[in-house]
């Protein structure tokens, strides 16, 4: 019993630790997949019931009129509507005083405290296009005419599909054509709504005594939400698309540059290190020991020392904004040389002797013995260098001018961050593009990685 508890504890610790270590990765992917504005919400699964914003119904004032203007774009399909407002004698023909709000394809606005009597009005579409109300054809003049009475009025004739207060009763009518059922939270209770023959959800609520004198009565609409619809409201893949097709930050270009730089450096490093490693492992030559000691001792030097002079040299060669500026300075990889030398030393000498007897020349020996036998360590070094150069930020930043076409992903990320610093979903989608290739590469080649790391480090 005790043993089972212990091993369960072990798994919990290991699993929890793994999750903690991988937390940035998960958080990045999760954030990258969120809808704009959702990144900073602590919500991962959609609510089963969607609660609307607070809705208000105003108590009618005696001697004054409330008027609701509605505009259904389907009534005049030839005018594309992006904004609409109402102007008339009640607001001094001011086209910006009463903009209408779109709700379920119907534009609507409610005006309060309007004088009783006749008023003329028109709709203003997209700021400058004055049109007549299609639901209220004008009779005398070019303008539409509405006669307001005390209490609630509407530009359309019927009040049936409208939420309004009459006396001590609240009539609720909500248009949610696609919904199955709807509830309303009002006066601290939840009321089920019934669907009428025009697809409106309606209810009649008696207003309690305590609420009667108040200026407005508020309620919220509760709409049951389909799980997948709710997920679509939280998550999206659009951020990735936006990052890929971003004109200011050619991510495809950055990605390609990073690929060329990382793969080029890795390939050349492996070639150089294998050649030098072979010489150190299997050849005797003048100053061999001293040379090797000198090479190894440079591993102690902080990389920053090389940065300024390397920059000067690269600048002197006129290599600013080129691939070679990012590739060549990193080719003399001492650690890689050490790895290769150690590995090649383990190849038995008898193989070389046999090859010599068969009359193989140096090139053939290299091709037949060295390359096939040290392939595992060469792959390791390739991967290590690739990963290192893929994320090499500082050097690639300083050898590229800000407008260079040779900028790589890390540099692009830094710029991207400057532009979209607050746009976390975009930032993280960009981050995914720079991290995921390496993560996949690692998962495919992890055996090489881990073995390479251990042989190199432990023997040191």
């Amino acid at each position: 019993m005790k043993k089972i508890t212990l091993s369960a504890l072990l798994y919990i610790i290991l699993f929890g630790g793994a999750m903690l270590v991988l937390l940035p990765l998960f958080w990045m992917i999760l954030t990258a997949c969120k809808q704009p504005g959702q990144a900073l919400e602590f919500r991962f699964l959609p609510d089963s019931v969607l609660e609307s914003e607070i809705q208000a119904v105003y108590q009618p004032i005696t001697d004054k009129a409330i008027v609701i203007f509605e505009f259904n774009p389907n009534d005049c399909p030839d005018i594309p509507v992006s904004s609409i407002s109402v102007a008339g004698t009640f607001n001094g023909w001011n086209s910006s005083a009463n903009p209408m709000v779109k709700d379920n394809n119907i534009w609507r606005t409610t005006l309060h405290n309007i004088d009783i009597g006749n008023h003329e009005y028109k709709f203003v579409v997209n700021g400058n296009n004055w049109i007549q109300d299609p639901a209220n054809k004008p009779t005398t003049t070019d303008n539409c005419l509405i006669t307001l009475q005390a209490g609630l009025n509407q530009n359309k004739k019927t009040l049936a599909n409208q939420t309004y207060i009459q006396g001590k009763t609240l009539f609720i009518a909500i248009d949610r054509g696609n919904a199955e059922s709807l509830q309303v939270k009002i006066f601290n209770q939840t009321i089920n709504l019934l669907k009428n023959d025009q697809n409106y959800f309606t209810a009649t609520v008696e207003i309690p005594e305590t609420e009667i004198g108040k200026h407005a009565i508020t309620y919220t609409i509760l709409e049951p939400q389909n799980f997948w619809d709710g997920m679509k409201k939280i998550y999206t893949f659009n951020n990735f698309k936006k990052v890929l097709y971003n004109r200011d930050f050619p991510f495809g270009q950055f990605f390609l540059n990073s690929l060329v730089v990382a793969a080029g450096t890795a390939l050349l490093t492996v070639i150089l290190c294998t050649m030098a490693g072979y010489a150190f492992a299997k050849k005797n030559f003048f100053m061999k020991k001293q040379l090797f000691a000198m090479l190894l001792s440079t591993m102690m030097i902080p990389g920053m020392i090389f940065m300024v002079p390397q920059f000067a040299i690269v600048n002197h060669f006129n290599w600013i904004n080129t691939y070679q500026a990012m590739i060549v300075p990193h080719l003399a990889n001492i650690f890689g040389l050490f790895l290769l030398k150690q590995y090649i030393s383990t190849i038995p000498n008898s193989l070389f002797e046999a090859a010599n007897i068969d009359g193989a020349n140096e090139l053939q020996i290299f091709k037949i013995i060295i390359i096939p036998l040290s392939l595992p360590i060469m792959v390791t070094l390739f991967l290590l260098t690739f990963v290192g150069q893929w994320g090499n930020f500082l050097w690639q930043l300083i050898v590229n001018t800000p407008d260079s076409t040779y900028r790589t992903l890390p540099v692009g990320m830094a710029l991207f961050r400057g532009q979209y610093g607050q746009d976390w979903e975009m930032m993280m989608a960009g981050a995914c593009f720079s991290i995921i290739p390496i993560a996949i590469l690692f998962l495919i080649a992890q055996r090489f990685f881990i073995e390479g790391m251990t042989t190199g480090a432990v023997k040191e």
Partner: protein
């Protein structure tokens, strides 16, 4: 003699490409750096012709650095950062290695999971941690709000002068733990089973086995990790750049000086470099090299003397 000459020729042919790059981009820069550290640009011309007007100033840069409170502050912070990252990193790695050395299922899954963060881009990881640590909307603050602690860090964890550096250290220890774990795991697996069996027969408890068998046998790894950890602390740049948004952390007042609370030596060096003070930057890097060599030397003496 003739064969000897030929072998020399062949060997050096193999070495030539490597040595050429080494001489141009590693050996020459060291001496070039020394030269730069003794000079000063009299007029700042442009980023791309930095060394047009260099004037010999002797050891002025070194004297300036060694009397500069900002430099010593950055060294002090680096020391604290080292204390926060190196021992915790080693202990965490060793713990993971010991746990993973048990006979358990999904061993390779855990091994990959812990190692994966090591290959990921430091800059990007840093940015993700900013999001996690950010005030009000960061994961940490949201989780705290869920359990009833609201607005625990009004300036954000990375915006607080006391928490900024530990938070960076926390993120970096988590990132680096897998690497040390692999090193320790290999070393522990190389320890012969019979040693532990013998200890079992003698009735040794698990902490005795840990203290008297495991730790002494993984000492070379501890030494290696201490030295590489020291070097990476002294040159720590990208994590600071990313997690403090290239500011060096929130400001603190120390004896009337306004200092940055995460301005580590490596980042301080970068700032000098980016401000065009190449001479000063080169001089700082040599002082850092001196410190790195000194610490490595002490480490080796100290860890070897116990044997």
């Amino acid at each position: 003699m003739k064969k000897n000459l030929k072998e020399n020729f062949v060997a050096y042919s193999y070495l030539t490409p490597f040595l050429a790059v080494f001489l141009v981009f590693l050996a020459y820069p060291v001496f070039y750096s020394m030269w730069i550290s003794l000079h000063k640009a009299t007029i700042y011309t442009s980023w791309y012709s930095p060394f047009t007007s260099m004037k010999y100033v002797g050891f002025e840069h070194y004297i300036n650095i060694l009397t500069d409170i900002e430099f010593w502050w950055s060294i002090g912070l680096t020391f604290i950062y080292g204390l926060l990252t190196i021992p915790t990193g080693i202990m965490l790695s060793l713990l993971l290695a010991i746990l993973l050395n048990n006979k358990i299922k999904f061993k390779s899954f855990f091994r990959s999971a812990y190692f994966l963060p090591n290959v990921l881009d430091l800059l990007v990881i840093g940015i993700i941690w900013i999001l996690i640590f950010s005030p009000k909307y960061g994961l940490v603050d949201m989780v705290l709000a869920k359990i009833g602690i609201h607005n625990a860090f009004p300036d954000g964890i990375l915006g607080s002068p006391y928490l900024c550096l530990p938070a960076i250290a926390f993120a970096m220890v988590l990132k680096g733990a897998g690497f040390g774990m692999i090193l320790f795991l290999t070393a522990i697996q190389n320890i012969s089973e019979s040693v532990y069996e013998a200890a079992d027969i003698d009735g040794a408890s698990w902490h005795h086995k840990l203290m008297y068998i495991t730790i002494p046998l993984v000492k070379p790894i501890i030494l290696f990790m201490t030295i590489t950890g020291t070097i990476s602390c002294l040159t720590a740049f990208t994590e600071i750049y990313a997690m403090t948004s290239n500011t060096g952390g929130p400001t603190v007042q120390v004896f009337g000086h306004t200092l940055r609370s995460a301005n580590l030596a490596g980042y301080h060096l970068y700032r000098s470099f980016s401000e065009g003070a190449y001479g000063k930057a080169a001089a700082i890097s040599f002082v850092l090299l001196g410190i790195a060599l000194l610490i490595s030397f002490i480490n080796m003496k100290w860890l070897k003397s116990d044997n």
